[in-house]
Amino acid sequence: MAKMQNKSKTSDISLIDPMLVQAYTIQRVVRETFDTFSLELEPQSGGGEFKFAPGQFNMLYVYGVGEVPISISGDPSKEKPLIHTTRAVGTVTKAMKNLKVGDTIGIRGPYGSSWPVKEAEGYDVVIVAGGIGLAPLRPVIYYLLQHRNKYGRIVLLYGTRTPEDMLYRKQLEKWRSRFDLETYLTVDRATGSWRGNVGVVTTLIGRAPFDPLHSVAVVCGPEIMMRYTVLELLKRGVDEEKTYISMERNMKCGIGLCGHCQLGSSFVCKDGPVYRYDNIKHAFTMWEM
């Protein structure tokens, strides 16, 4: 941290505004579900080097509409393409959904904290995702599988409302066929030909194969899902200090200057989005913090 501050003191001389965006071209659009899509992007300026840590996010700018924070969903070991999976829910993301291959999008980042891949070495890793929450977790799955021998058992627990809401379906099928990754899926409501688990994702925690006393848990989904997921994990014996979650708040700058994303004493954009649970648990029970 001290090192970073020194760095910023010297960069203070630079007049390059951190609010400037870089133009990226959409190379490919993948329709993940009826309202969720992935964009594969490459920088127009060439170079193509985009380094990020799993769990970090970018600010995405749609020309003339606005800017939103979106987690990076691609493989952190690949410099191209930059991948973002987004659900169309607001003004900017709905406009983003209408973009086509060849269109331009603006990027600033990467920002924020990341999943604890170093701290998790030597431990079992439990990945719990709810709905679109799998998107910020996919980079950590790529990372863990690429460094597979450094970790114990790896368990992915993924729940969505219906089977149609599942992201990365083909990838999930591949992951499920691996022997070095335990993948458990569940849906709130079974539709179509679903023959799998039915129930919220927390129901998977009790029977998932990991050693709770030697596990690191990474959790992402709606706040209510994360809250009850963590309670289940703790009940099984996972340590609060080995449990990590990813938070979301209104962000305008992404770099701790605009104040919008404050959650108590922390700025979700720079202290988060990934928090160790014991550092943020007080916020879960405080209304309108």
Partner: protein, 371 residues
């Protein structure tokens, strides 16, 4: 502080300060009277200062009156803060020109002008230091703010006559300055003699002082000036007991008393606009009607608006009490966790300019009592 380094400028020579600053290329801003208030704006001469004006402040009240004393700094503080000139209320960041399927970003021009602020109160100097931590010294910084700060010359003015809403002593930010200035003044006026005890706090300050007619200060002049500032410390209109307040606030997040405050709070955001440390801003992207040009602007924002915390699905802080609580918790408690200092300097502006006169010292005190 070394008393030997202190000098005296006579009132008749005060214009020389402006001339020296102008000659060095500084754009001078200082207090001046407009619309029945003391505001900060560009001024060219000492005659534009609020000569003989003084202000009377209460919760929700500000009145300017003419006094017989022809003091230059006989007022307390107006609604403006220096952040207006270091972190403008509205700023264009960039423009984007649309081409076929792409766009090109053109960074807005920003000229790091040389500015001199004449009449910075000790509490305001402390506030500038707090904003430095946020906007300049963090992991990310605002480049324009950093450039303006580097080119800034500060003439601080010690307080000898604090107001009803002042509590800088509680916040350890006044009534005298200790560092962070280029020149610091104490205005002395006894009906007959009118002079300024002046001290240089930097090399740039010394350079300017050399160009102004001045003489070494006499021991009795120094003593009187020091006493005047000491007396000011005992004349604070209000106080805020900071002892353990951070923990008390953290522990009383769920207090019902927040709801009592909200019965009066209009959530207008005035307190955030007049606060010298509030830094929250909004980023807005717009396009022209033709759609071929877009721009990004930054505006001061307030945590009192419902929009402030809006994410898909609604606002995080939809109730009025939660927004007042956010502001006060941030000022006193969160700020200390974030930046190692409270976000309050005791200037009292939020009390004066609150339309219903809500008083931060009173409300924080009430939370303490009810704890």
């Amino acid at each position: 502080m070394n008393n030997e380094s202190k000098s005296v400028i006579e009132r008749k020579d005060f214009q020389a300060l402006f001339d020296a600053l102008s000659a060095e290329g500084y754009k001078i801003s200082g207090p001046t009277v407009r619309d029945n208030a003391v505001i900060y704006d560009e001024i060219g001469s000492a005659e534009e200062l609020p000569i003989g004006w003084t202000d009377h402040q209460e919760g929700g009240s500000y009145r300017l009156t003419k006094s017989k004393k022809k003091t230059l700094f006989g007022f307390i503080l107006g609604p403006y803060t220096w952040k207006k000139l270091l972190y403008p209320p509205e700023k264009k960041i960039w423009e984007a020109q649309k081409s076929d399927r792409s766009f090109e970003i053109v960074e807005a021009e920003s000229k790091p002008i040389k500015q001199a602020f004449v009449g910075v109160r000790p509490c305001e100097l402390k506030a500038i230091g707090i904003q430095d931590k946020i906007l300049r010294d963090g992991q990310h910084s605002d480049p324009e703010y950093g450039a303006l700060r580097r080119n800034l010359f500060i003439v601080a003015v010690n307080c000898t006559n604090p107001g009803n809403n002042c509590f800088c002593v509680s916040m350890n930010s006044g009534p005298g300055v200790s560092d962070g200035f280029d020149l610091a003044l104490t205005e002395m006026f006894n009906g007959k003699d009118h002079y300024f005890v002046i001290e240089a706090g930097s090399r740039a300050g010394k350079k300017i002082l050399e160009k102004i007619p001045h003489r070494p200060a006499k021991p009795e002049e120094l003593e009187q000036a020091e006493k005047a500032v000491e007396r000011a410390a005992s004349k604070m209109g209000r106080s805020l007991d900071m002892k353990g307040l951070k923990e008390i606030l953290h522990n009383n997040f769920d207090s019902h008393y927040w709801g009592e405050i909200a019965k009066r709070c209009l959530t207008c955001g005035n307190c955030t606009m007049v606060c010298p440390t509030c830094f929250c801003c909004n980023i807005e992207d717009t396009t022209n009607l033709g759609g071929d040009r877009a721009e990004r602007r930054r505006y001061w924002d307030t945590c009192y608006s419902v929009d402030f915390s809006y994410i898909h699905g609604g606002s995080i802080r939809s109730t009025d009490y939660s927004r007042y609580r956010q502001w006060l918790m941030h000022k006193i408690a969160y700020w200390q966790d974030q930046f190692g200092t409270p976000g309050c300097v005791g200037c009292g502006r939020c009390i004066t300019w609150c339309p219903v006169g809500i008083d931060i010292t009173e409300e924080a005190g009430a939370i303490r009592e009810k704890a």
